[in-house]
Protein backbone atom coordinates (compact mmCIF):
# COMPACT_ATOMS: atom_id res chain seq x y z
CA UNK A 1 0.00 0.00 0.00
CA UNK A 2 1.36 3.42 -0.90
CA UNK A 3 -0.10 6.74 0.07
CA UNK A 4 0.32 9.35 -2.56
CA UNK A 5 -1.83 12.17 -1.28
CA UNK A 6 -0.83 12.86 2.29
CA UNK A 7 -1.82 16.39 3.21
CA UNK A 8 -1.31 18.16 6.50
CA UNK A 9 -4.98 17.87 7.38
CA UNK A 10 -5.48 14.54 5.68
CA UNK A 11 -8.45 15.69 3.64
CA UNK A 12 -8.27 12.52 1.64
CA UNK A 13 -5.96 9.57 1.31
CA UNK A 14 -5.65 7.89 -2.06
CA UNK A 15 -4.42 4.33 -2.30
CA UNK A 16 -2.95 2.89 -5.47
CA UNK A 17 -2.59 -0.81 -5.05
CA UNK A 18 -0.66 -2.42 -7.87
CA UNK A 19 2.31 -4.73 -8.29
CA UNK A 20 3.74 -2.15 -10.69
CA UNK A 21 4.14 0.20 -7.74
CA UNK A 22 5.70 -2.33 -5.39
CA UNK A 23 9.14 -0.72 -5.77
CA UNK A 24 10.00 2.98 -5.88
CA UNK A 25 10.62 3.00 -9.65
CA UNK A 26 10.30 6.41 -11.28
CA UNK A 27 8.54 5.19 -14.43
CA UNK A 28 5.28 3.85 -12.91
CA UNK A 29 5.26 6.37 -10.06
CA UNK A 30 5.53 9.38 -12.37
CA UNK A 31 2.80 7.85 -14.53
CA UNK A 32 0.64 7.46 -11.42
CA UNK A 33 1.11 11.12 -10.43
CA UNK A 34 0.18 12.06 -13.99
CA UNK A 35 -2.96 9.92 -13.84
CA UNK A 36 -4.06 11.21 -10.44
CA UNK A 37 -3.51 14.81 -11.56
CA UNK A 38 -5.64 14.32 -14.68
CA UNK A 39 -8.53 13.11 -12.54
CA UNK A 40 -8.04 15.35 -9.51
CA UNK A 41 -6.87 18.64 -11.09
CA UNK A 42 -4.77 19.58 -8.06
CA UNK A 43 -3.29 23.07 -7.83
CA UNK A 44 -0.19 21.78 -5.99
CA UNK A 45 1.76 18.54 -5.93
CA UNK A 46 4.41 18.29 -3.21
CA UNK A 47 6.95 15.68 -2.13
CA UNK A 48 9.90 15.82 0.21
CA UNK A 49 13.36 16.34 -1.27
CA UNK A 50 14.33 12.77 -0.48
CA UNK A 51 16.04 10.58 -3.04
CA UNK A 52 12.57 9.15 -3.74
CA UNK A 53 10.93 12.56 -4.28
CA UNK A 54 13.79 13.94 -6.35
CA UNK A 55 13.73 10.87 -8.60
CA UNK A 56 10.01 10.96 -9.29
CA UNK A 57 8.68 14.52 -9.17
CA UNK A 58 10.68 16.03 -12.08
CA UNK A 59 9.69 13.12 -14.33
CA UNK A 60 6.03 13.60 -13.43
CA UNK A 61 6.41 17.36 -13.97
CA UNK A 62 7.75 16.78 -17.48
CA UNK A 63 4.75 14.54 -18.27
CA UNK A 64 2.51 17.39 -17.07
CA UNK A 65 4.61 20.01 -18.92
CA UNK A 66 5.31 22.19 -15.88
CA UNK A 67 8.51 23.36 -14.15
CA UNK A 68 8.95 22.00 -10.64
CA UNK A 69 10.63 23.92 -7.81
CA UNK A 70 13.28 21.87 -5.98
CA UNK A 71 14.22 21.99 -2.31
CA UNK A 72 11.82 24.68 -1.09
CA UNK A 73 12.79 25.96 2.38
CA UNK A 74 10.01 28.52 2.77
CA UNK A 75 6.54 28.94 1.29
CA UNK A 76 5.88 32.70 1.05
CA UNK A 77 2.64 32.45 -0.91
CA UNK A 78 0.63 29.94 -2.93
CA UNK A 79 3.04 30.41 -5.85
CA UNK A 80 5.98 32.10 -4.14
CA UNK A 81 8.82 30.04 -2.74
CA UNK A 82 12.32 30.42 -1.33
CA UNK A 83 14.99 27.89 -2.23
CA UNK A 84 18.75 27.75 -1.73
CA UNK A 85 21.05 27.91 -4.77
CA UNK A 86 24.84 27.68 -5.12
CA UNK A 87 25.16 25.16 -2.28
CA UNK A 88 23.14 27.35 0.05
CA UNK A 89 25.34 30.40 -0.50
CA UNK A 90 22.36 32.32 -1.89
CA UNK A 91 18.62 32.17 -1.40
CA UNK A 92 16.41 32.53 -4.44
CA UNK A 93 12.81 33.70 -4.23
CA UNK A 94 10.95 32.23 -7.19
CA UNK A 95 7.40 32.67 -8.43
CA UNK A 96 5.62 29.92 -10.33
CA UNK A 97 3.66 31.57 -13.15
CA UNK A 98 2.59 28.48 -15.12
CA UNK A 99 -0.57 26.42 -15.27
CA UNK A 100 -1.68 23.94 -12.59
CA UNK A 101 -0.26 21.95 -10.98
CA UNK A 102 2.47 23.85 -9.17
CA UNK A 103 5.00 21.13 -8.23
CA UNK A 104 7.43 21.31 -5.33
CA UNK A 105 9.92 19.22 -3.46
CA UNK A 106 10.40 20.59 0.04
CA UNK A 107 13.43 20.40 2.30
CA UNK A 108 11.95 18.57 5.25
CA UNK A 109 14.38 20.00 7.83
CA UNK A 110 12.94 23.47 7.12
CA UNK A 111 9.39 22.60 8.12
CA UNK A 112 8.24 21.46 11.56
CA UNK A 113 6.50 18.11 11.80
CA UNK A 114 2.87 18.64 12.91
CA UNK A 115 2.16 16.80 16.14
CA UNK A 116 0.06 13.67 15.77
CA UNK A 117 -2.27 13.13 18.70
CA UNK A 118 -4.68 10.32 19.33
CA UNK A 119 -7.48 12.88 19.58
CA UNK A 120 -7.23 13.70 15.91
CA UNK A 121 -8.21 10.16 15.02
CA UNK A 122 -11.98 10.63 14.85
CA UNK A 123 -11.41 13.14 12.04
CA UNK A 124 -9.43 10.61 10.06
CA UNK A 125 -9.58 11.25 6.34
CA UNK A 126 -11.56 9.08 3.97
CA UNK A 127 -9.46 6.54 2.14
CA UNK A 128 -10.23 5.81 -1.49
CA UNK A 129 -8.72 3.58 -4.12
CA UNK A 130 -7.20 5.10 -7.25
CA UNK A 131 -8.88 3.73 -10.37
CA UNK A 132 -5.93 2.19 -12.20
CA UNK A 133 -7.91 0.94 -15.20
CA UNK A 134 -6.51 3.75 -17.37
CA UNK A 135 -3.00 3.39 -15.94
CA UNK A 136 -0.74 3.54 -18.95
CA UNK A 137 1.62 0.61 -18.67
CA UNK A 138 3.25 0.92 -22.09
CA UNK A 139 6.68 1.91 -20.91
CA UNK A 140 6.73 0.47 -17.45
CA UNK A 141 8.52 -2.80 -18.13
CA UNK A 142 11.63 -0.95 -19.31
CA UNK A 143 13.03 -0.75 -15.80
CA UNK A 144 13.25 -3.48 -13.20
CA UNK A 145 14.06 -3.33 -9.54
CA UNK A 146 16.90 -5.66 -8.57
CA UNK A 147 17.78 -5.02 -4.93
CA UNK A 148 18.39 -2.59 -2.11
CA UNK A 149 21.47 -2.82 0.09
CA UNK A 150 21.50 -0.86 3.31
CA UNK A 151 23.71 -0.37 6.27
CA UNK A 152 22.08 -1.80 9.37
CA UNK A 153 22.21 0.67 12.20
CA UNK A 154 20.50 1.25 15.50
CA UNK A 155 21.39 4.90 15.63
CA UNK A 156 18.78 7.59 14.87
CA UNK A 157 18.17 8.57 11.26
CA UNK A 158 20.63 11.21 10.07
CA UNK A 159 17.95 13.35 8.45
CA UNK A 160 15.83 13.73 11.57
CA UNK A 161 18.27 13.30 14.49
CA UNK A 162 18.32 15.90 17.29
CA UNK A 163 22.09 15.64 17.57
CA UNK A 164 24.56 14.84 14.77
CA UNK A 165 28.23 14.02 15.34
CA UNK A 166 30.31 14.27 12.16
CA UNK A 167 33.84 13.35 11.29
CA UNK A 168 36.14 14.32 8.44
CA UNK A 169 39.38 13.30 6.84
CA UNK A 170 41.37 14.09 10.00
CA UNK A 171 40.05 10.90 11.62
CA UNK A 172 42.59 9.16 9.34
CA UNK A 173 41.00 5.69 9.34
CA UNK A 174 37.81 3.69 9.68
CA UNK A 175 39.20 2.39 12.96
CA UNK A 176 39.58 5.90 14.38
CA UNK A 177 36.11 6.84 13.11
CA UNK A 178 34.77 4.52 15.81
CA UNK A 179 35.61 7.33 18.26
CA UNK A 180 32.92 9.42 16.53
CA UNK A 181 30.50 6.50 16.74
CA UNK A 182 31.22 6.07 20.46
CA UNK A 183 30.53 9.74 21.10
CA UNK A 184 27.34 9.52 19.06
CA UNK A 185 26.24 6.51 21.06
CA UNK A 186 26.78 8.39 24.30
CA UNK A 187 24.69 11.34 23.11
CA UNK A 188 22.04 9.30 21.31
CA UNK A 189 23.16 11.07 18.14
CA UNK A 190 23.32 10.21 14.46
CA UNK A 191 26.71 9.93 12.76
CA UNK A 192 27.58 12.07 9.77
CA UNK A 193 30.67 12.45 7.62
CA UNK A 194 32.29 14.60 4.98
CA UNK A 195 32.83 13.52 1.42
CA UNK A 196 36.54 13.10 2.19
CA UNK A 197 35.77 10.59 4.95
CA UNK A 198 33.38 8.69 2.67
CA UNK A 199 35.79 8.63 -0.27
CA UNK A 200 38.57 7.43 2.01
CA UNK A 201 36.32 4.50 2.94
CA UNK A 202 35.94 5.35 6.66
CA UNK A 203 32.12 5.18 6.45
CA UNK A 204 29.44 4.32 3.85
CA UNK A 205 28.21 7.13 1.60
CA UNK A 206 24.72 7.40 3.09
CA UNK A 207 26.32 9.19 6.04
CA UNK A 208 27.60 12.03 3.87
CA UNK A 209 26.39 15.47 4.89
CA UNK A 210 26.55 18.23 2.29
CA UNK A 211 25.37 19.62 -1.02
CA UNK A 212 25.54 16.19 -2.60
CA UNK A 213 24.64 14.19 0.48
CA UNK A 214 22.11 14.69 3.24
CA UNK A 215 20.90 18.10 4.40
CA UNK A 216 20.57 18.15 8.20
CA UNK A 217 19.43 20.81 10.66
CA UNK A 218 19.72 19.25 14.14
CA UNK A 219 19.71 21.09 17.44
CA UNK A 220 23.38 20.26 17.91
CA UNK A 221 25.92 19.55 15.17
CA UNK A 222 29.43 18.60 16.26
CA UNK A 223 32.11 18.64 13.56
CA UNK A 224 35.36 16.81 14.28
CA UNK A 225 38.31 17.22 11.97
CA UNK A 226 36.18 18.92 9.33
CA UNK A 227 37.70 21.92 7.53
CA UNK A 228 34.34 23.31 6.43
CA UNK A 229 34.31 23.31 2.61
CA UNK A 230 31.27 25.15 1.17
CA UNK A 231 29.85 21.86 -0.11
CA UNK A 232 29.81 20.49 3.45
CA UNK A 233 28.48 23.70 5.01
CA UNK A 234 25.56 23.54 2.56
CA UNK A 235 24.39 20.42 4.36
CA UNK A 236 24.54 21.62 7.96
CA UNK A 237 24.61 25.42 8.16
CA UNK A 238 21.01 25.57 9.43
CA UNK A 239 21.83 23.55 12.55
CA UNK A 240 20.82 25.37 15.73
CA UNK A 241 24.14 25.03 17.56
CA UNK A 242 27.36 24.14 15.76
CA UNK A 243 30.47 22.92 17.59
CA UNK A 244 33.76 22.57 15.71
CA UNK A 245 36.84 20.71 16.91
CA UNK A 246 39.86 21.14 14.67
CA UNK A 247 43.57 21.57 15.13
CA UNK A 248 43.75 24.25 12.44
CA UNK A 249 42.58 27.51 14.01
CA UNK A 250 42.10 29.01 10.53
CA UNK A 251 39.73 26.27 9.29
CA UNK A 252 36.61 27.83 7.68
CA UNK A 253 34.38 25.69 9.92
CA UNK A 254 35.15 28.08 12.80
CA UNK A 255 33.38 30.87 10.89
CA UNK A 256 30.03 29.11 11.26
CA UNK A 257 30.65 27.41 14.62
CA UNK A 258 29.02 28.75 17.78
CA UNK A 259 31.64 27.02 19.90
CA UNK A 260 35.08 26.06 18.71
CA UNK A 261 37.88 24.04 20.24
CA UNK A 262 41.32 24.17 18.68
CA UNK A 263 43.28 21.04 19.38
CA UNK A 264 44.01 17.41 18.59
CA UNK A 265 40.75 15.51 18.27
CA UNK A 266 42.45 12.26 19.35
CA UNK A 267 42.96 13.89 22.75
CA UNK A 268 39.75 15.89 22.86
CA UNK A 269 37.27 13.15 21.87
CA UNK A 270 38.29 10.78 24.72
CA UNK A 271 38.03 13.71 27.12
CA UNK A 272 34.57 14.57 25.78
CA UNK A 273 33.58 10.93 26.09
CA UNK A 274 34.49 11.11 29.72
CA UNK A 275 32.91 14.46 30.52
CA UNK A 276 29.77 14.60 28.41
CA UNK A 277 26.67 13.35 30.18
CA UNK A 278 25.07 10.14 28.95
CA UNK A 279 21.92 10.86 26.90
CA UNK A 280 19.68 8.21 25.49
Amino acid sequence: MYFISYLLFHLQVLVADSDKLAHPLAEPWAELVHLVQQKGSYSHIITSSSSFGKNILPRAAALLNVSPVTDVVEISGPRLFIRPIYAGNALCTVRYTGLDPCMLTIRSTSFPVPPVSSESRPNAAPISQVDLSTFSEDNLSKSRYVKHTSQETERPDLGSARVVISGGRALKSAENFKLIEKLAEKLGAAVGATRAAVDAGFVPNELQVGQTGKIVAPELYMAFGISGAIQHLAGMRDSKVIVAVNKDADAPIFQVADYGLVGDLFELIPELLEKLPEQK
Partner: protein, 251 residues
Amino acid sequence: MKIMVAVKRVIDYAVKIRVKSDKTGVETTNVKMSMNPFCEIALEEALRIKESGFASEVIVVSMGPAQSVDTLRTGLAMGADRAIHVDAPATLYPLSVAKILKVLVDIEKPGLLILGKQAIDDDCNQTGQMVAGLLKWPQGTFASKVVLDKEKQVATVDREVDGGLETLCLDLPAVITTDLRLNQPRYATLPNIMKAKSKPIKKVTPQELNVEINSDLEIVHVTEPPKRKAGVILSSVDELVDKLKNEAHVI
Protein backbone atom coordinates in the same frame (compact mmCIF):
# COMPACT_ATOMS: atom_id res chain seq x y z
CA MET B 1 25.73 2.77 -30.20
CA LYS B 2 26.22 6.48 -29.71
CA ILE B 3 26.28 8.13 -26.28
CA MET B 4 25.09 11.69 -25.78
CA VAL B 5 26.33 13.64 -22.77
CA ALA B 6 24.88 16.96 -21.64
CA VAL B 7 27.37 19.35 -20.03
CA LYS B 8 26.77 22.70 -18.35
CA ARG B 9 29.03 25.71 -17.89
CA VAL B 10 28.78 26.90 -14.28
CA ILE B 11 30.73 29.05 -11.82
CA ASP B 12 33.72 26.98 -10.71
CA TYR B 13 32.92 24.96 -7.60
CA ALA B 14 35.80 26.47 -5.62
CA VAL B 15 34.68 30.08 -6.17
CA LYS B 16 33.02 31.84 -3.25
CA ILE B 17 30.00 33.39 -4.98
CA ARG B 18 28.76 36.94 -4.46
CA VAL B 19 25.14 38.01 -4.61
CA LYS B 20 24.62 41.11 -6.79
CA SER B 21 23.77 44.25 -4.84
CA ASP B 22 20.55 44.76 -6.85
CA LYS B 23 19.44 41.26 -5.84
CA THR B 24 18.83 40.14 -9.43
CA GLY B 25 21.19 37.21 -9.16
CA VAL B 26 24.76 36.13 -8.53
CA GLU B 27 27.79 37.97 -9.91
CA THR B 28 29.06 36.06 -12.96
CA THR B 29 31.26 38.62 -14.70
CA ASN B 30 35.00 38.09 -14.22
CA VAL B 31 34.29 34.89 -12.29
CA LYS B 32 36.03 31.62 -13.14
CA MET B 33 33.67 29.26 -14.95
CA SER B 34 34.13 25.52 -15.49
CA MET B 35 32.30 22.39 -16.48
CA ASN B 36 29.82 21.35 -13.77
CA PRO B 37 31.62 18.60 -11.74
CA PHE B 38 28.75 16.09 -12.17
CA CYS B 39 28.89 16.66 -15.95
CA GLU B 40 32.62 15.81 -15.93
CA ILE B 41 31.71 12.51 -14.26
CA ALA B 42 28.98 11.91 -16.86
CA LEU B 43 31.43 12.49 -19.71
CA GLU B 44 34.10 10.32 -18.07
CA GLU B 45 31.61 7.46 -17.80
CA ALA B 46 30.65 7.83 -21.48
CA LEU B 47 34.32 7.78 -22.49
CA ARG B 48 34.97 4.64 -20.42
CA ILE B 49 32.00 2.91 -22.03
CA LYS B 50 33.35 3.85 -25.46
CA GLU B 51 36.84 2.61 -24.52
CA SER B 52 35.38 -0.72 -23.41
CA GLY B 53 34.04 -1.14 -26.93
CA PHE B 54 30.38 -0.71 -26.21
CA ALA B 55 29.93 2.67 -27.87
CA SER B 56 31.19 4.03 -31.17
CA GLU B 57 30.85 7.74 -30.57
CA VAL B 58 30.46 10.22 -27.72
CA ILE B 59 28.65 13.49 -28.44
CA VAL B 60 28.75 16.38 -25.94
CA VAL B 61 25.94 18.91 -25.89
CA SER B 62 25.75 22.23 -24.10
CA MET B 63 23.18 25.01 -24.04
CA GLY B 64 23.73 28.65 -23.32
CA PRO B 65 25.57 31.71 -24.64
CA ALA B 66 28.65 31.67 -26.89
CA GLN B 67 31.00 30.93 -23.96
CA SER B 68 29.45 27.47 -23.61
CA VAL B 69 31.73 26.52 -26.50
CA ASP B 70 34.67 26.64 -24.03
CA THR B 71 32.98 23.95 -21.97
CA LEU B 72 32.39 21.88 -25.10
CA ARG B 73 36.09 22.25 -26.04
CA THR B 74 36.98 20.90 -22.59
CA GLY B 75 34.69 17.95 -23.28
CA LEU B 76 36.32 17.36 -26.66
CA ALA B 77 39.76 17.57 -25.06
CA MET B 78 38.74 14.92 -22.53
CA GLY B 79 37.89 12.64 -25.46
CA ALA B 80 34.42 13.33 -26.84
CA ASP B 81 34.19 12.93 -30.62
CA ARG B 82 32.03 15.91 -31.52
CA ALA B 83 29.94 18.60 -29.92
CA ILE B 84 26.65 20.40 -30.34
CA HIS B 85 26.19 23.93 -29.04
CA VAL B 86 22.61 25.10 -28.63
CA ASP B 87 22.82 28.89 -28.71
CA ALA B 88 20.36 29.97 -26.05
CA PRO B 89 19.97 32.55 -23.31
CA ALA B 90 21.86 31.87 -20.07
CA THR B 91 18.68 31.48 -17.99
CA LEU B 92 17.27 28.25 -19.37
CA TYR B 93 15.21 26.26 -16.90
CA PRO B 94 15.47 22.45 -16.77
CA LEU B 95 12.14 21.94 -18.58
CA SER B 96 13.43 23.87 -21.62
CA VAL B 97 16.77 22.06 -21.49
CA ALA B 98 14.94 18.72 -21.35
CA LYS B 99 12.78 19.65 -24.37
CA ILE B 100 15.84 20.68 -26.39
CA LEU B 101 17.68 17.50 -25.37
CA LYS B 102 14.70 15.40 -26.44
CA VAL B 103 14.80 16.90 -29.95
CA LEU B 104 18.57 16.34 -30.16
CA VAL B 105 18.08 12.73 -29.06
CA ASP B 106 15.40 12.28 -31.74
CA ILE B 107 17.90 13.56 -34.34
CA GLU B 108 21.07 11.79 -33.15
CA LYS B 109 19.45 8.60 -31.79
CA PRO B 110 21.96 7.76 -29.04
CA GLY B 111 21.54 4.51 -27.10
CA LEU B 112 22.38 6.23 -23.86
CA LEU B 113 21.97 9.78 -22.59
CA ILE B 114 24.15 10.61 -19.58
CA LEU B 115 23.85 13.75 -17.46
CA GLY B 116 25.12 14.90 -14.09
CA LYS B 117 22.67 14.51 -11.25
CA GLN B 118 22.53 18.26 -10.63
CA ALA B 119 24.21 21.50 -11.61
CA ILE B 120 26.02 23.20 -8.73
CA ASP B 121 24.61 26.63 -9.63
CA ASP B 122 20.82 26.16 -9.58
CA ASP B 123 21.02 22.88 -7.58
CA CYS B 124 17.82 21.73 -9.34
CA ASN B 125 18.37 18.00 -9.88
CA GLN B 126 15.62 17.80 -12.52
CA THR B 127 16.88 17.76 -16.11
CA GLY B 128 17.73 14.06 -16.41
CA GLN B 129 14.44 12.91 -14.92
CA MET B 130 12.51 15.35 -17.13
CA VAL B 131 14.13 14.34 -20.39
CA ALA B 132 13.64 10.67 -19.49
CA GLY B 133 9.94 11.39 -18.96
CA LEU B 134 9.63 13.26 -22.27
CA LEU B 135 11.43 10.47 -24.14
CA LYS B 136 9.52 7.73 -22.27
CA TRP B 137 12.89 6.15 -21.56
CA PRO B 138 13.75 4.45 -18.26
CA GLN B 139 15.93 6.48 -15.88
CA GLY B 140 18.80 5.55 -13.60
CA THR B 141 19.40 8.60 -11.42
CA PHE B 142 22.23 9.22 -8.88
CA ALA B 143 24.26 6.38 -10.40
CA SER B 144 27.37 5.19 -8.57
CA LYS B 145 27.97 2.16 -10.83
CA VAL B 146 26.90 1.39 -14.40
CA VAL B 147 27.38 -2.01 -16.04
CA LEU B 148 26.27 -2.52 -19.63
CA ASP B 149 25.29 -5.85 -21.13
CA LYS B 150 25.86 -5.70 -24.87
CA GLU B 151 23.89 -8.83 -25.71
CA LYS B 152 20.80 -8.15 -23.67
CA GLN B 153 20.94 -4.39 -24.35
CA VAL B 154 20.44 -3.53 -20.70
CA ALA B 155 22.22 -1.33 -18.17
CA THR B 156 22.51 -2.40 -14.54
CA VAL B 157 22.73 0.73 -12.42
CA ASP B 158 23.58 1.09 -8.72
CA ARG B 159 21.89 4.21 -7.36
CA GLU B 160 22.76 6.17 -4.23
CA VAL B 161 19.51 6.48 -2.31
CA ASP B 162 18.66 7.51 1.26
CA GLY B 163 19.71 4.65 3.49
CA GLY B 164 21.89 2.74 1.08
CA LEU B 165 22.24 1.58 -2.51
CA GLU B 166 19.56 0.44 -4.92
CA THR B 167 20.21 -1.67 -8.00
CA LEU B 168 18.05 -1.31 -11.12
CA CYS B 169 18.09 -2.98 -14.50
CA LEU B 170 17.18 -0.68 -17.41
CA ASP B 171 16.44 -1.53 -21.03
CA LEU B 172 18.41 0.58 -23.48
CA PRO B 173 17.98 3.27 -24.61
CA ALA B 174 18.02 4.87 -21.18
CA VAL B 175 18.87 8.06 -19.31
CA ILE B 176 21.50 7.94 -16.56
CA THR B 177 22.41 10.74 -14.14
CA THR B 178 25.72 10.53 -12.32
CA ASP B 179 26.54 10.79 -8.65
CA LEU B 180 29.96 11.80 -7.31
CA ARG B 181 31.30 8.33 -6.67
CA LEU B 182 30.67 6.93 -10.14
CA ASN B 183 34.23 7.64 -11.30
CA GLN B 184 37.22 9.97 -11.19
CA PRO B 185 37.17 12.19 -14.29
CA ARG B 186 40.38 12.39 -16.32
CA TYR B 187 42.35 15.53 -17.05
CA ALA B 188 42.67 16.76 -20.60
CA THR B 189 46.29 16.41 -21.74
CA LEU B 190 47.97 19.14 -23.76
CA PRO B 191 48.09 17.11 -27.02
CA ASN B 192 44.39 16.34 -26.58
CA ILE B 193 43.60 20.02 -25.96
CA MET B 194 45.37 20.77 -29.26
CA LYS B 195 43.51 17.97 -31.04
CA ALA B 196 40.18 19.19 -29.64
CA LYS B 197 40.57 22.41 -31.57
CA SER B 198 39.99 20.59 -34.84
CA LYS B 199 37.01 18.54 -33.66
CA PRO B 200 33.64 19.70 -34.99
CA ILE B 201 31.22 21.79 -32.93
CA LYS B 202 27.82 22.16 -34.55
CA LYS B 203 25.80 25.22 -33.63
CA VAL B 204 22.01 25.21 -33.60
CA THR B 205 19.33 27.43 -32.11
CA PRO B 206 16.18 26.37 -30.24
CA GLN B 207 14.19 27.89 -33.12
CA GLU B 208 15.91 25.61 -35.63
CA LEU B 209 15.04 22.68 -33.38
CA ASN B 210 11.46 23.90 -33.17
CA VAL B 211 11.56 24.17 -29.40
CA GLU B 212 9.68 27.11 -27.98
CA ILE B 213 11.28 28.51 -24.85
CA ASN B 214 8.65 29.92 -22.57
CA SER B 215 9.28 29.90 -18.90
CA ASP B 216 6.75 29.33 -16.15
CA LEU B 217 9.16 30.44 -13.45
CA GLU B 218 10.21 33.95 -12.52
CA ILE B 219 13.10 34.82 -10.21
CA VAL B 220 11.80 37.53 -7.88
CA HIS B 221 15.10 38.15 -6.16
CA VAL B 222 18.27 36.52 -4.90
CA THR B 223 19.59 37.31 -1.44
CA GLU B 224 22.40 36.24 0.83
CA PRO B 225 21.52 33.66 3.44
CA PRO B 226 21.21 35.01 6.98
CA LYS B 227 24.62 35.27 8.62
CA ARG B 228 25.28 33.23 11.73
CA LYS B 229 26.38 35.33 14.65
CA ALA B 230 30.06 35.01 15.41
CA GLY B 231 30.95 32.14 17.70
CA VAL B 232 33.57 31.82 20.37
CA ILE B 233 36.73 29.76 20.62
CA LEU B 234 36.84 27.92 23.91
CA SER B 235 39.93 26.81 25.76
CA SER B 236 38.92 23.46 27.24
CA VAL B 237 36.55 20.53 27.05
CA ASP B 238 35.17 21.53 30.46
CA GLU B 239 34.23 24.94 29.12
CA LEU B 240 32.55 23.36 26.08
CA VAL B 241 30.51 20.94 28.17
CA ASP B 242 29.49 23.83 30.43
CA LYS B 243 28.43 26.04 27.49
CA LEU B 244 26.43 23.24 25.85
CA LYS B 245 24.66 22.56 29.14
CA ASN B 246 24.11 26.00 30.59
CA GLU B 247 24.18 28.42 27.66
CA ALA B 248 22.94 26.52 24.60
CA HIS B 249 20.85 24.02 26.59
CA VAL B 250 21.34 21.31 23.98
CA ILE B 251 22.64 18.53 26.23
